[in-house]
């Protein structure tokens, strides 16, 4: 029997493609600094991640890591910082150590051991004066809400204010982030040899209360040829993304250049994507540009997206 159950959005997509050529090798999103760089180089996501908060717990986690698993930690916060206030942290323009997070993972496949390690940090950040004022205003509101007996705290209001604070904190006006990772394999950990490595750099400018977002991205990646019969794959990818977003309309221009270093070849992809919400549930999309291939590389897609229902069909 066919039943309709309330669930997620069920969207039918009807797209008319005039010409779509081969898939590009790298998308602009692939160049974003990953949250946990070590896990990105592995083809599998760790089932659980240990997050030690002090050196003793870290040593236990690292010991466990030899048996397989994943760990993430931020050494700067292993020690309490009694004099380091929220305002001090928020004003800091170069929180390299505060945000320096390490990730590590290991697993065994057949008789081969794999170990990955990575780091991520924010090199520079800048908040506009208007954004700083808004963050400080939310901070003061939270302090007022917290200045009460523990049993009389308005937890819903505190939760809402905390969510607003997190939203504002994530809206840095200008920031530079860096990440790097390494994946090795061996029959034993003592004879570990590189399989893959990578480094990412992202620079973002996002004016506060203005719907423009500009991101420059770069990634270096190396995959070692295991048989040593050919060349290693070494790429330097650089991208630029400009997006403009209004209530019913958004426009994005994306450019990615891939440098194949051993073969001394360059590929690039340029795409302009527009979405316009005609009415609720109907969005017109258009994408034009040039893809990676040297020939037949014109990218032109026009279509309509229909959001048919908010009910999801299910069979019982």
């Amino acid at each position: 029997m066919l039943l309709f159950k309330k669930a997620g959005l069920f969207t039918a997509l009807v797209t008319v493609s005039i010409t779509i050529q081969a898939q590009s090798d790298v998308k602009i999103n692939d160049l974003s600094v990953p949250t946990s760089p070590a896990f990105v180089l592995m083809d599998q996501s760790p089932a659980s991640i240990e997050k030690p908060t002090n050196p003793k717990a870290l040593s236990v986690s690292l010991f466990n890591l030899l048996q397989g698993g994943a760990v993430e930690f931020t050494p700067y916060w292993f020690k309490n910082r009694p004099a380091y206030t929220f305002s001090d942290y928020f004003k800091k323009r170069s929180p390299v150590f505060e945000t320096l997070a390490f990730s590590g993972a290991s697993f065994k496949k057949d008789s081969v051991s794999f170990a990955a390690a990575g780091l991520r940090t924010q090199l520079f950040r800048l908040y506009s004066p208007a954004l700083r004022r808004d963050v400080d205003s939310v901070r003061r509101a939270i302090i007022v809400l917290l200045s009460n007996d523990p049993d009389s705290l308005d937890l819903d209001a505190i939760g809402a204010a905390k969510a607003e604070l997190a939203r504002l904190k994530a809206k840095t006006t200008f920031d530079i982030e860096f990440a790097a990772a390494y994946l090795g394999q061996a029959s034993s950990f003592k004879s570990l040899a590189a399989v893959r490595s990578g480094a990412w750099l992202n620079i973002r400018w996002s004016p506060y209360k203005f719907p423009l977002d500009i991101v420059a991205l770069a990634r270096y990646s190396r995959a070692v040829d295991p048989a040593k019969t050919g060349k290693d794959s070494v790429f330097f990818d650089a991208g630029l993304s400009l997006s403009y977003q209004e209530k019913n309309f958004d426009l994005a221009l994306e450019y990615v250049n891939r440098r194949d270093i051993p073969n001394k070849t360059d590929y690039h992809r340029l795409a302009l994507v527009a979405n316009y919400q005609v009415m609720e549930g109907i969005v017109a999309v258009a994408s034009v540009g040039k893809d990676f291939n040297k020939v037949n590389n014109v990218l032109a897609v026009f279509g309509i997206k229909f959001g048919l229902s908010k009910e999801k069909a299910s069979l019982k």
Binding site: T53, T74, Y76, W77, N80, R81, P82, A83, Y84, T85, F86, D88, Y89, F90, E98, T99, A101, R139, I142, I143, V144, L145, L146, S147, N148, D149, P150, L153, L155, I158, G159, K162, L165, A166
Partner: protein, 117 residues
């Protein structure tokens, strides 16, 4: 969002050189608010961000207990550790620090401290 509580008691001696003032600092880049009460009368002496709050003279504070409740919200994604320092002007010891940690990201930790003069 869970609220974890910890109760503490501290013996303070006003040195009599000046009025006793209280300043509270929340560390680890977290956000906290406090409420300061006279334990006997439940009168609120101050709340919010506490900076140079006048508690009284040595004579006024003699034999009294001031209860300070500090609620710290974990807003730092990098750590669940919370730390608070109470600085007393014209008092011994001049500073008292407590640290602990919340169980989950975004929880609240409450330090309820009786300062006995």
């Amino acid at each position: 969002m869970k609220v974890k509580k910890r109760t503490e008691s501290v013996k303070l001696v006003a040195d009599g050189s000046d009025d006793v003032l209280l300043t509270i600092t929340i560390g680890n880049a977290q956000i906290g608010g406090s409420i300061v009460k006279n334990k006997t009368t439940s009168a609120v002496l101050g709340k919010g961000e506490i900076q140079n709050l006048r508690l009284g003279t040595k004579k006024e504070l003699q034999g009294k207990t001031i209860t300070v409740t500090t609620n710290i919200l974990d807003t730092n994604e990098q750590t669940n550790g919370v730390v608070v320092t109470y600085f007393f002007h014209a008092c011994q010891p001049p500073a008292t620090t407590f640290s602990d940690k919340v169980d989950n990201d975004g929880d609240i930790f409450s330090f309820i401290v009786d300062f006995n003069f």
